[in-house]
């Protein structure tokens, strides 16, 4: 039965403001929206660095070192953001927006903490049903830091837009992390098969290759197999 509710278009339901709505699972595009929102509230810290001028050139350079990665949001930061007030409201709105519900509607119809913990968050978890940590395993070859997991988004997009998937960027944006994990696992299998096929092909080529010394034998008028 696992995943059937999604296959038949019947996601988990949530009561909100007198209505009852199904929740859409989170896709990669939603993480992009969340990241954009985080950067929006962050503002431009380079303006702050300009304030360091009275402290001298070295202080300004140190300031630039501090803020130069300000627009690189770690996946761990995204997950942290989703646990904040703003993040969970945004996450809920992303799951409900296909009903034409605005962000302000979600804010206006908030329930108390009990509603969040008993209804909203379980329904969201059920809708997403993705093992985010698991999705990271393949994406990062190195050892995983559980405190601050990260996804190399550019690498992910590169992998999915190339052979054997050839998925367009728009389609990639609609994938969930679970689907990404499935695809990338499939890719590993496919790549494994390709490698073994090429090994077989190489062995066949080797078998068909002219045996060493055969040319000399021919030139000397000897038989091929002689």
């Amino acid at each position: 039965m696992y995943g059937l509710f999604r296959a038949v278009g019947a996601g988990p339901l949530l009561r909100l403001g007198g209505g009852c709505y199904d929740l859409r699972p989170r896709c990669l595009r939603h993480y992009g929206i969340i990241e954009a929102r985080m950067l929006q509230v962050c503002g431009n810290p380079f303006d702050a660095v300009r304030l360091l001028r009275p402290f001298g050139q070295s202080a300004v350079e140190d300031g630039f070192k501090t803020v130069r990665h300000w627009n690189e949001v770690e996946f761990g930061d995204l997950l942290d953001w989703l646990k904040t007030e703003e993040g969970r409201v945004l996450g809920l709105w992303l799951a409900l927006q296909h009903h034409g519900i605005t962000f302000d509607d979600v804010v206006d119809q908030q329930g108390d903490e009990r509603w969040w913990s008993k209804e909203a968050l379980p329904a969201l978890a059920q809708a997403n049903c993705e093992d985010e940590q698991g999705a990271l395993v393949w994406l990062e070859d190195g050892p995983q830091d559980e405190e601050a997991p990260s996804i190399d988004w550019s690498r992910l997009f590169r992998v999915l837009s190339e052979e054997p998937f050839n998925i367009s960027m728009r389609e990639i944006g609609e994938l969930s992390l679970r689907q990404v994990r499935t695809l990338t696992t499939d890719r590993k299998k496919l790549m494994g098969q390709t490698e073994s096929q090429s090994e077989v092909r190489a062995q066949a080529e080797q078998r068909r290759a002219v045996p060493k010394g055969a040319i000399e034998n021919l030139m000397q008028g000897n038989r091929w197999d002689g």
């Binding site: 702050a48 304030l51 360091l52 501090t66 904040t84 007030e85 409201v89 804010v107 206006d108």
Partner: protein
């Protein structure tokens, strides 16, 4: 639950509206603004006679400001329970009726309000914090 509560303090009647969940989002922005202010204050305090240690404090304030994008639910709750947070909630409530209300109006109300009315207002705002669900 009523949309407004009226209290009289210092011969003046104040009408305070339901604040709703939005005040929690505004509170998060207020906390972020405080981090920005901390950095600006550190710069203004030390810019004339900044030694190595003071420069480090400025650098720390910058680091805190840049990293402090996420404001946790716990931080929001703590701030809303602080005197500053209570005054902010009250201001949001007053602006539901009078959009031009200022922090001075809040201070005037808090100065003259009786203990009984204060409890009533506090209870009203606490109940209205989570909206209409």
């Amino acid at each position: 639950m009523a949309e407004f509560i009226e209290v009289t303090a210092g011969a003046k009647t104040y009408r305070i509206g339901r604040v709703g969940f939005n005040v929690r989002l505004d509170a998060a922005e207020q906390i972020r603004q405080k981090r920005r202010d901390e950095f600006s204050r550190a710069v203004n305090t030390f810019k004339d006679a900044g030694n190595e240690e003071q420069r480090m404090l400025v650098a720390l304030a910058l680091d805190k400001m840049v990293r402090g994008v996420s404001v946790t639910t716990v931080e929001v709750n703590d701030w809303l329970r602080s005197p500053e947070g209570e005054a902010f909630t009250l201001l949001c409530g007053m602006r539901k009726n009078l959009p031009a209300a200022t922090p001075d109006d809040v201070m005037a109300l808090l100065t003259d309000i009786s203990a009984e009315d204060y409890v009533l207002v506090d209870d009203f705002l606490a109940k209205s914090l989570f909206g209409t669900k």
